[in-house]
């Protein structure tokens, strides 16, 4: 089974800086802080894949009209 956590090395000075930063913040460890920051930076605005063909989109619009959601 794959390990749930793994190690990443960061400079000790940076580690200490983060330790200071998170004091009293509610974040319980440097690891939690680093994971939070990484997740934030990985959240990218990518183009949504177009899931519908033009024809399918027209069908959806037809239903929305029939239900009164659009005019």
């Amino acid at each position: 089974m794959e390990k749930e956590f793994t190690d990443v090395s960061i400079p000790t000075s940076l580690y200490k800086k983060i330790e200071q930063k998170i004091k009293g913040s509610g974040i319980t460890s440097v690891s939690s802080y680093v994971a939070k920051v990484l997740r934030e930076s990985l959240l990218k605005e990518e183009e949504t894949q177009e899931a519908l063909t033009k024809e399918d989109e027209e069908k959806v619009k037809k239903r929305l009209k029939a239900l009164g959601y659009i005019d």
Binding site: L43, Q49, A51, V60, L64, Y69, I70
Partner: protein, 382 residues
């Protein structure tokens, strides 16, 4: 348009010949009869409301969700979506087999491609999801009553179960077209299981001030005795929107799903579903998805700190009330007056008045909304 959770909107619905073949297979394959809540989960998976899930969770996914509130690819996901069966039933099923899932009327609704069968600890599930072992908590009681073995695997929907609210039921693929047609670039989702009072309207309109449209999304499903009936909730929202909203700025669409009452975890879950519908924002109020006093009032807001990668913006609201001195709806951040000047939006008080056939004062509920509710012989679940 905002991305669905996990970037791709799931659609696992059989059409045409595939559907016909599945209906034929349903005559011979082993089958499981599901309750209303599981049928709703199946449909929510198939229509992409639960994207990126494509089926019921396997053990690895289940454990990850329970322990870390994330799927195995690190995507936020706080609630296990699982299918429980009795040991004897599980024994008869083979991994790799197709199993027909049926609704309460015994109609075939989906095929489960069985990937895994595993045992689990009900107490652990209840305690981690609901943060309590107390069996008076409806979620804990439900989990404690679950069957011994969980089945996992992708599902394919054969046919939707009938609903009296078909006209209010849209799939994420449809709401996304709807928002595009309306020209809404930002949409705020509002989760509800109640008829609207003035406090709800205040929150919705405050959020709407900063977004292009409001997506009112009542949870429809099995309710507790004394709750408003689903049809009453929908009629009351239609009336509120007709009289007090711009038609081009508000829509009501149902979400057929069980309320878990998991407080903070469920708030994240609700946010994910609304993201899949295409909402960019979600309103999270005091004690969102809570029950009794199991969660601290703002725990469902604090938990969002742990999910910077959720991809939908929560709009947090404090408790609000009507201030007689301000003559308006206020919250603790906006009003300097004493609590004695405040009238709380107590659902219980409004309900009591309605039960007596009385229209609540206009500072609590719009008279048009109250009248619609009172038009029903019995607006409450018996």
């Amino acid at each position: 348009m905002i991305q669905p959770h996990g970037s791709k909107l799931v659609e696992r619905v059989l059409h045409g010949e595939e559907k016909e073949r599945a209906l034929e297979k349903a005559k011979v394959l082993p089958s499981l009869k599901l309750n209303f809540e599981l049928v709703s989960d199946v449909e929510n998976i198939a229509f992409g409301n639960f994207s990126p899930l494509e089926g019921f969770m396997g053990e690895g996914e289940y454990r990850n969700v329970l322990n870390h509130m994330r799927l195995s690819d690190d995507l936020p996901w706080p609630i296990p979506i699982v299918l429980d069966v009795e040991k004897e039933v599980a024994k008869k099923l083979k991994i790799g087999q197709e199993v027909i899932l049926r609704n309460e009327s015994n109609d075939p609704i989906a095929i489960l491609h069985l990937e895994e069968k595993y045992e689990y600890n009900r107490e652990e599930m209840a305690e981690k999801v609901f943060q309590t072992k107390d069996t008076a908590h409806p979620g804990v009681a439900k989990v404690r009553g679950m069957k011994d073995v969980l089945l996992s695997g992708k599902i394919d929907l054969i046919q939707e179960s009938p609903t009296p609210f078909y006209n209010y039921k849209l799939k994420p693929i449809e709401t996304r077209v709807l928002f595009k047609e309306k020209g809404w670039r930002t949409v705020v989702g509002f989760q509800t299981r109640n008829t609207p009072h003035i406090g709800h309207e205040y929150v919705q309109k405050t959020a709407l001030t900063f977004t292009d449209g409001i997506f009112v999304n009542p949870v429809i499903g099995r309710k507790k005795k004394g709750d408003f009936k689903d049809e009453v909730i929908l009629a009351s929202y239609d009336e509120l929107i007709k009289h007090y909203y711009l038609k081009e700025r508000a829509v009501v669409v149902i979400l057929q799903m069980e309320m878990r009452y998991a407080g903070p975890r469920e708030a994240i879950f609700h946010a994910i579903i609304r993201k899949n519908f295409g909402c960019t924002h979600i309103i999270i109020g005091r004690d969102h998805a809570g029950v009794g006093n199991y969660y601290s009032p703002y725990a469902a807001q604090d938990i969002f700190e742990e999910f910077p990668d959720l991809g939908i913006v929560p709009l947090f609201f404090k408790s609000f009330s009507f201030c007689k001195k301000c003559n308006s709806v206020v919250n603790e951040k906006t009003c300097p007056h004493q609590p004695s000047e405040h009238i709380n939006f107590s659902g219980t008080k409004i309900r009591e008045l309605l039960i007596q056939g009385k229209i609540p004062p206009p500072e609590l509920m719009r008279p048009e909304v109250a009248k619609i509710i009172l038009d029903y012989d019995n607006p409450f679940v018996e």
